[in-house]
């Protein structure tokens, strides 16, 4: 039994012991996260290995969660008073670390967790300070780290009233979510005349994705006990209860151990630290009802009754457990108390915001790169937490929204990444702080589905007492289900809003009062997504399974029936495979080479190992037909229609429209300004990605169908729109693309030799122009696909050095990720966060590019940080050539005649939903309407436009004749892990020598092997079939 003085003195001794340089240790992270990741095997392996290595004196200890759960299992080697933390271990790696680090003295840097990374540096740890650092099962380590000194100081220096004043002054607010001032709560309870009062710690953490409290309980249980003892002293209670969910067995075990340890040392129990103050803590286990997190239900549960809320007033502080004054605080709130008592309210207030001082622990889950626990000052923005501290999204996916407050909360959409998080700001956004769960979502998350998930949770967890929560949540779920199954009506959204308001207003307790929040919040920020489900029966994230046959097809802008053609490949019917694709997308060969395969992002196989190589298989089908079957199948033209249609531009959109209109029987003529057919396919996309002769094979399908192609004819110059009208064309489809490079407007660029625009360079190259860029230093400005294409072309021209200069960070580059990877492989340097200012020249020849360094400012509406120039941060890049690739726009030459097709403010052609322009017989689509987009999106537009033109000309608008197909499994479904087959490519040296196609294509065996990885998500009743 200690007194205060003794505690202070042993603290010093223990501090020396546990911080002593000689105290080398191995520490294994044994939180639930660590154990789940395999820490127990690591521990066993380490023990064995230490023996084997003869390091028998080395202590092996455990610790709680360090917060970086993504890196579990974690092992720390504490030598020379330094911490070396190895992450992502398995027993084998752990043995290697021990041997290398301890025996050979070599630190394995690549396995080390960087303790100076933003993940740690940008955090401010108060309650998590000891988590992942001390052994939670050894009170000595707690004491060494100042544990119980807050209690000692409290008992020594302050009266209960003074304690309450300090907590009030510190403006500590409840971390359970509601943010009620803790000091005020204590004050009311302290005023009660009840002879017995209670302190209850609410450790019934039930939000999906929240694990803050668990980590504190597991990693630093004494901090909580100390906080509770101080609370008890302040309000005059001698009994405390920890209400912990039974699903936390490890936390309960460590709490029990901690209580025992503390009682043995006289830090809890009777006459604490010989001060005369008694405080005993009991643990009560919750049986897993979410509603028992609500304080009155929690009390009912401790009293042995059914966990149901009762009405307030009276509040628990007046009449709580067994009718006595009771303070209920959450784990994190109480865990802040010891530090406040030791360091004072002013210290606490210096952290965080004025209205919400201190820190908040967040549990990051979902599509986040570094999932785990972080503690940040109040007022930190979601952007900082998600992107700076946690490294952004998994697989660098695009951020869509983050859910705070769990099922009671709402989502923070991309436009609010800069909002400082505190109780009040989140409320304004329609969400709540909640206990600190932060679930990050990317574009693959369907917001209707998300709302469904949370309301389903609340529906199940409703105690069933009040009408609005019991029935209302079920009815909300049913309406959401209706919407997600494509049976929704527009009025359902209004009904959901009305129900949401009523359920919030009417419900008895916090559960019901907040249950509609996720629905209301997703409708608030993602109403268009609801409408898409209702009106178009489309789920953009490929989640709502009743709305599509397979997720890949759903994600494909051209709506290609992917599983079906993959199955044909597996069956060896390559022609059928081609035809299945062709029916929805006439540019099979092209897309097999250049498509950015949105389908693969949606592939369910990704959940097992890797998404299917859908593009590669498409390419295989077209290659096979060319090589082994003598060419592509020519679709049959329906009955001839004696109506002429002119298509201006032979890019993907024009070709597609021509294909479908001709198939319908129209007389179609394509007018192409250049000599080459294909638009950007021919002139923009480099030869090494899409060889021109192959492109022409596919264009040959169209000519074989009877499409007339007139080259070297620029509408507006060689022929006017009115001429087309006179020549008897019933309709015109403008698919002229966005062919003009946007001006960089950089100082020193005018008239200087060595300054080019990317499109010019790409076009010239594709038309056989020879550039002498050998051994030159080249700077390409921009971060899009045109910049990457240009840069990779330069490598092939033998440039000495190719640099890409981009304003934002590399992860923000709009270019396709695989292309960036290839470019870097080909030794293109990517300089991000540089803003070019001026071209320096000598003798009218470019010599240097002057740039400023840029840092990321606030997040803009695209979810990327705004580039903000750093003052006086000039960077000079030696360069001979500067190529600008900063975007394209429409060239307006077609308006040279009598008719004027109206443009938008962004210099794009203005169209209605049916692709018609201001002139009713002129339609437009593709890049000239949408701005630069992908090939497959242009194909989608061409197809839709063909349908609209058909309707305009009196047809039924059906351009794809859908066959009924029986979907059956033709071979075993491969459910065990199997990585995708890598696309074979040519060597780097070969790439540098010329424009040979980089990808070599699959062999037949490879194609069939890859095709057999398909899970056949399109077959709904797999079980029965198998």
């Amino acid at each position: 039994m200690l007194n205060i003085k003794e505690l202070e003195s042993i603290q010093k001794d223990l501090y020396n012991e546990y911080s002593d340089i000689k105290k080398d240790r191995i520490i294994i992270g044994m939180g639930t996260c660590g154990i789940a990741a395999g820490a127990e095997e690591i521990l066993t392996a380490v023990k064995k290995e230490i023996k084997k290595l003869g390091l028998n004196n080395l202590e092996i200890s455990i610790t709680g969660c360090l917060g970086i759960c993504a890196e579990e299992p974690i092992m720390e080697i504490r030598t020379d008073n330094k911490r070396f933390i190895y992450g992502n271990l398995n027993p084998e790696k752990a043995r290697a670390v021990l041997k290398s680090h301890l025996v050979e003295g070599n630190i394995i840097n690549r396995w080390l967790i960087d303790q100076n990374s933003d993940f740690f540096n940008k955090q401010e740890r108060i309650v998590l300070r000891n988590c992942g650092n001390i052994n939670p099962e050894n009170i000595e380590e707690t004491i060494a780290n100042s544990g119980y000194l807050g209690l000692a100081e409290t008992l020594k220096n302050f009266s209960p009233a003074e304690v309450i004043k300090i907590i009030k002054d510190a403006k500590l607010r409840g971390r359970g979510g509601a943010g009620f001032p803790t000091g005020l709560k204590w004050e009311i309870a302290a005023k009660s005349n009840d002879r017995e009062k209670y302190v209850i710690c609410n450790a019934d953490e039930g939000d999906p994705g929240a694990f803050m409290d668990r980590s504190i309980l597991e990693g630093d249980p004494h901090r909580l006990l100390e906080g509770m003892a101080i609370a008890g002293y302040a309000i005059g209670a001698s009994i405390g209860f920890i209400y912990c969910r039974a699903e936390y067995p490890l936390a309960i075990k460590r709490l029990k151990n901690a209580i025992k340890e503390a009682e043995e040392m006289g830090l809890l129990g009777e006459n604490i630290l010989e001060s005369g103050y008694d405080f005993k803590i009991n643990i009560r286990l919750g049986a897993g009802a979410f509603v028992c997190g609500e304080e009155t239900s929690l009390i009912a549960s401790i009293e042995g009754k059914r966990g149901e809320p009762r009405s307030k007033p009276p509040f628990p502080v007046e009449s709580g457990l067994f009718g006595k004054a009771t303070v209920i605080n959450n784990v994190e709130t109480l865990s802040n108390v010891p530090e406040i008592m030791r360091n004072g309210s002013e210290w606490f207030k210096s952290i965080g915001t004025e209205a919400s001082p201190g820190t908040k622990v967040f549990a990051l889950a979902g599509k986040i790169k570094t999932n785990g626990l972080v503690e940040v000052p109040m007022g930190t923005t979601p952007g900082e937490i998600i992107f700076d501290i946690c490294g952004g999204l998994e697989k660098d996916a695009e951020f869509k929204a983050a859910q705070t407050g769990g099922p009671s909360g709402g989502c923070i959409p991309i436009e609010h990444l800069n909002v400082p998080i505190d109780y009040d700001s989140l409320k304004e956004l329609g969400t709540i702080m909640g206990s600190g769960g932060l679930i990050v979502m990317d574009e693959q998350t369907c917001m209707v589905d998300l709302a469904k998930y949370f309301i389903d949770f609340c529906k199940d967890e409703s105690c069933g007492q009040c009408t609005s929560c019991r029935i209302g949540t079920t009815r909300m779920l049913e309406i959401l289900e209706k919407i997600s199954e494509g049976r929704g009506e527009k009025k359902d959204i209004d009904l959901l809003l009305e129900m949401g308001e009523v359920i919030k207003d009417s419900s008895f307790c916090g559960l019901g009062q907040s249950a509609p929040n996720p629905v209301l919040s997703t409708i608030r920020y993602f109403k268009d997504e609801y409408l898409d489900h209702i009106e178009n029966h489309h789920c953009d994230s490929s989640v709502c399974a009743s709305l599509f046959t397979s997720p890949c097809q759903n994600a494909c802008p051209a709506n290609v029936d992917i599983p079906l053609y993959i199955d044909s490949i597996r069956q060896g019917d390559y022609k059928r495979a081609y035809q299945i694709i062709q029916s929805e997308n006439p540019l099979v060969l092209v897309c097999g080479r250049v498509c950015y395969n949105l389908c693969e992002n949606a592939c369910n196989r990704d959940g097992i190992d890797e998404s299917l190589a859908i593009r590669e298989l498409k390419r295989f089908a077209s290659d096979y037909l060319l090589k082994d079957e003598g060419g592509f199948p020519i679709p049959e033209v329906e009955a001839e229609i004696d109506k002429k249609i002119a298509i201006i531009g032979s890019g993907p959109s024009g070709l597609t429209a021509a294909f479908y209109l001709r198939k319908k029987g129209y007389q179609v003529t394509i007018f192409e300004a250049e000599t080459e057919v294909g638009g950007m396919l021919a002139l923009g996309i480099p030869e090494y990605r899409l060889p021109k002769d192959l492109l022409n094979e596919e264009i040959g399908v169209l000519t074989a169908m009877g499409v007339e192609i007139v080259v070297n004819t620029k509408v507006g110059e060689d022929i006017l729109i009115e001429d087309l009208r006179e020549e008897g064309f019933w309709a015109v489809y403008m698919a002229v693309g966005a062919q003009k490079d946007r001006q960089l407007n950089i100082e020193g660029s005018e008239g200087v030799e060595g300054y080019y625009s990317a499109l010019d360079v790409l076009k010239d190259l594709n038309q056989g122009h020879e550039f002498d860029f050998k051994d030159k230093k080249i700077s390409v400005i921009g971060g899009g696909n045109a910049a990457i294409d240009t840069a990779r072309n330069m490598i092939r021209l033998g440039a000495d050095e190719v640099n890409i200069i981009y304003r934002r960070s590399k992860s923000d580059m709009p270019a396709h990720k695989d292309e960036i990877k290839e470019a870097e492989y080909e030794k293109v340097n990517i300089y991000s966060q540089l803003n070019p200012h001026r071209i320096h020249s000598e003798n009218n020849k470019v010599i240097k590019l002057e740039c400023s360094k840029v840092k990321g400012g606030k997040f803009d509406k695209s979810g990327r940080r705004k580039p903000v120039e750093i003052e006086d941060s000039k960077v000079m890049i030696d360069t001979d050539i500067v190529i600008s690739a900063v975007g394209q726009e429409v060239e307006e030459y077609f308006n040279n005649g009598k008719f004027e097709v109206k443009l938008t403010n962004d210099n794009l052609i203005k169209t209605e939903e049916d692709f018609s322009t201001n002139i009713d017989w002129i339609f437009a689509g593709g890049d000239c309407v949408s701005g630069p987009s992908t090939v497959v999106e242009s194909i989608q537009q061409g197809k839709k436009a063909a349908s609209e033109i058909d309707k305009y000309l009196g047809g039924n608008g059906i351009v794809v004749n859908k066959e009924e197909v029986e979907r059956i499994i033709s071979g075993p479904i491969l459910e065990e892990q199997k990585s995708r087959i890598k696309m074979p490519t040519i060597l780097l040296s070969e790439r540098k020598r010329g424009f040979k196609e980089v990808e070599k294509g699959y062999s037949l065996d490879q194609a069939v092997e890859e095709a057999s990885r398909c899970l056949r998500c399109d077959v709904k009743e797999k079980e029965e079939v198998i």
Binding site: R306, G464, T467, E478, V502, D505
Partner: protein, 570 residues
């Protein structure tokens, strides 16, 4: 604190009211009726239905007025559009999970849900979707349970656990799956339910009601071969007219007799007759036990709900129970013996029907110990239903008189209907039997009224007889606690239902305190107006002993009028 007055404003009107008064009650003072569904004065204060919501200025949530106490300065809106919208949608929610079959529902006329939906003008339920699906529980002869009509107001749960301390029905499950059902058992018959039917009195819908035997009785009446006789319990005559006039406290004995005769009963007898008989036998038993050192205190045994309760919860005390059958069963036994001896009827043609204020009586009539004596038991409500169905105007019926032989009764029998009545009647007789002197003050006020437990000490011939009266089973439990703490009693009256039979589970619905009080007044009025007010002075009872039974406690009396009960185990 309790009496502190506070100023509040309701819909712009100022009111000074005691702090802690509920908003609902405060509004009543201003003649504002806030609609309620789950609320039940003093009995169910949980605020679960969310119909009585009101808006409190400067708070962002609505409050359930039935459970929210007023505090100084509160400004309340009881009729804002927000309030109406919430109430109406909650009602829509309830209706969306309700088995709506109003025209054929037993509660069609008495359904509070239907009534409130009409008040709110709910013309459409916008929600489709799943409905709770449960089997009907018809396991007992007394009460049925139809969870598909339950709106989870939980009045039954409160009444069963708080007032009756039986806890036979409780809420189970969570969320949409929440259901009221017998605790740990699948059906009521297996549960500790005592069948008192108090839950049927408070259920706002048709989820809990008495099991009807109307069709069976009609069938018997329509059968020319059958000789159908009927007995009417003391409490029926002071409540039956409520079903027709809506007024409480009316004594309608004579009209009831006429009605029964018109319905086709061959003889209309009175359970009051056997109530007098019960007193004779029970007083005799008490005297015997006192004089011969039998098991004391003696417990009354007229209330079948109480019998079920003691069998289940206090089987160790079964010996304290009077061996007397209840008046209903004494009547049944006599009908098959004494009556048959005096009538030209064959036993096989005899049908005995009782009109009872009680649901447990239906069970009692089917108990193994006594089965066959009474064929059908109808509640007061069922009788009213039959009269309505027959189509005659109850209020305009002429007066009629009970048939002779078993139709005459005393004031002592009349007060059986009220809590304390059996005790009072027994004392009137026991006193005179023991002392041989005339009891001057017939009214024994100390056992009258609605106090939960009433005690009286009566000096009978030098012996201080200690008596207690408990009504409502939670009060019965309290009496057992007193006994176990050593308090000495000689005679205790137990009634399962609060108020005694006048508050029985088979009585007309919507009986608030005032209605119960009026029924009680009417009971004592009947007693006051009787010339003979002591059971042993009933001339027909004397005749029964003289001509048939011989003497109280005789062998034949034992055979016909007494029984034994067994512990019921779970």
């Amino acid at each position: 604190m309790e009496n502190k007055l506070v100023n509040i404003e309701i819909d712009g009107e100022n009111l000074e009211v005691e702090a802690g008064t509920s908003i609902l009650d405060a509004a009543k003072m201003l003649n504002k009726n806030i609609p309620t569904l789950c609320y039940l004065e003093e009995k169910n204060l949980i605020g679960s239905c969310r119909i009585c919501l009101v808006e409190i200025e400067n708070t962002d949530k609505l409050a359930a007025s039935c459970i929210t106490p007023v505090s100084d300065g509160l400004k309340i809106k009881t009729n804002s559009s927000r309030v109406r919208k919430n109430r109406k949608m909650n009602l829509e929610f309830l209706l969306s999970d309700h088995n709506i079959e109003c025209p054929s529902c037993i509660s069609n006329e008495s359904c509070e849900l239907r009534e409130i939906a009409e008040e709110f003008g709910v013309r459409e339920v916008r929600f489709e979707g799943k409905k709770s699906s449960y089997k009907m529980d018809e396991s007992t002869p007394s009460i049925f349970r139809d969870p598909e009509k339950c709106i989870l107001c939980r009045r039954c749960e409160s009444v069963c656990s708080d007032i009756q301390s039986v806890e036979a029905v409780q809420v189970f499950g969570r969320g949409f799956e929440t259901v009221i059902k017998p605790s740990f058992y699948d059906n009521l018959a297996d549960s500790p339910c005592v069948l008192c039917g108090q839950c049927t009195l408070v259920c706002p819908t048709g989820a809990l009601r008495e099991k009807e035997y109307i069709n069976e009785v009609w069938q018997a009446l329509d059968d020319p071969e059958k000789h159908v006789i009927v007995q009417t319990a003391p409490a029926v005559r002071v409540a039956l007219s409520e079903a027709f006039s809506g007024k409480s406290g009316e004594i309608c004995t004579e009209k009831m007799v006429t009605a029964l005769r018109k319905l086709g009963f061959d003889k209309v007898f009175d359970t009051n007759f056997t109530a007098d008989l019960t007193i004779i036998e029970e007083a005799n038993e008490l005297i015997e036990r006192v004089e011969q050192g039998g098991k004391l205190p003696l417990f009354t045994s007229c209330s079948p709900g109480w019998i079920n309760f003691i069998e289940e919860y206090y089987p160790d005390y079964l010996d304290n129970l009077s061996s007397c059958k209840s008046p209903q069963q004494m009547f049944g036994a006599l009908a098959h013996s004494y009556y048959l001896d005096n009538a030209e009827v064959e036993e096989k043609d005899l049908v005995v029907v009782s009109i009872m204020p009680c649901t447990a009586k239906k069970f009692e009539a089917q108990r193994d110990e006594m089965a066959g004596d009474v064929d059908y038991v109808l509640t007061t409500r069922e009788l009213a239903q039959m009269i309505k169905e027959a189509g005659f105007s109850f209020e305009n019926l002429e007066d009629g008189n009970f048939d002779q032989l078993m139709g005459n009764s005393t004031g002592a029998a009349a007060i059986f209907a009220s809590t304390g009545g059996v005790m009072e009647a027994a004392i009137r007789t026991a006193y005179e039997k023991i002392t041989g002197e005339e009891l001057k003050e017939v009214n024994i006020e100390s056992v009258r009224g609605f106090d939960q437990i009433k005690k009286a000490t009566v000096n009978i011939g030098g012996l201080e007889v200690k008596a207690a009266v408990a009504h409502g089973l939670s009060n019965a439990r309290k009496v057992f606690e007193m006994i176990e703490e050593g308090e000495v009693f000689h005679f205790i009256e137990f009634m399962a239902c609060p108020g005694g039979c006048l508050g029985g589970g088979g009585q007309p619905l919507f009986a608030d305190k005032e209605v119960l009080n009026n029924r009680m007044k009417a009971i004592y009025e009947i007693d006051e107006n009787k010339q003979i007010r002591k059971s042993h002075e009933n001339p027909d009872i004397k005749k029964l002993y003289d001509n048939y039974l011989d003497h109280p406690g005789s062998e034949l009396a034992h055979k016909l009028l007494h029984t034994e009960y067994q512990p019921k185990r779970f």
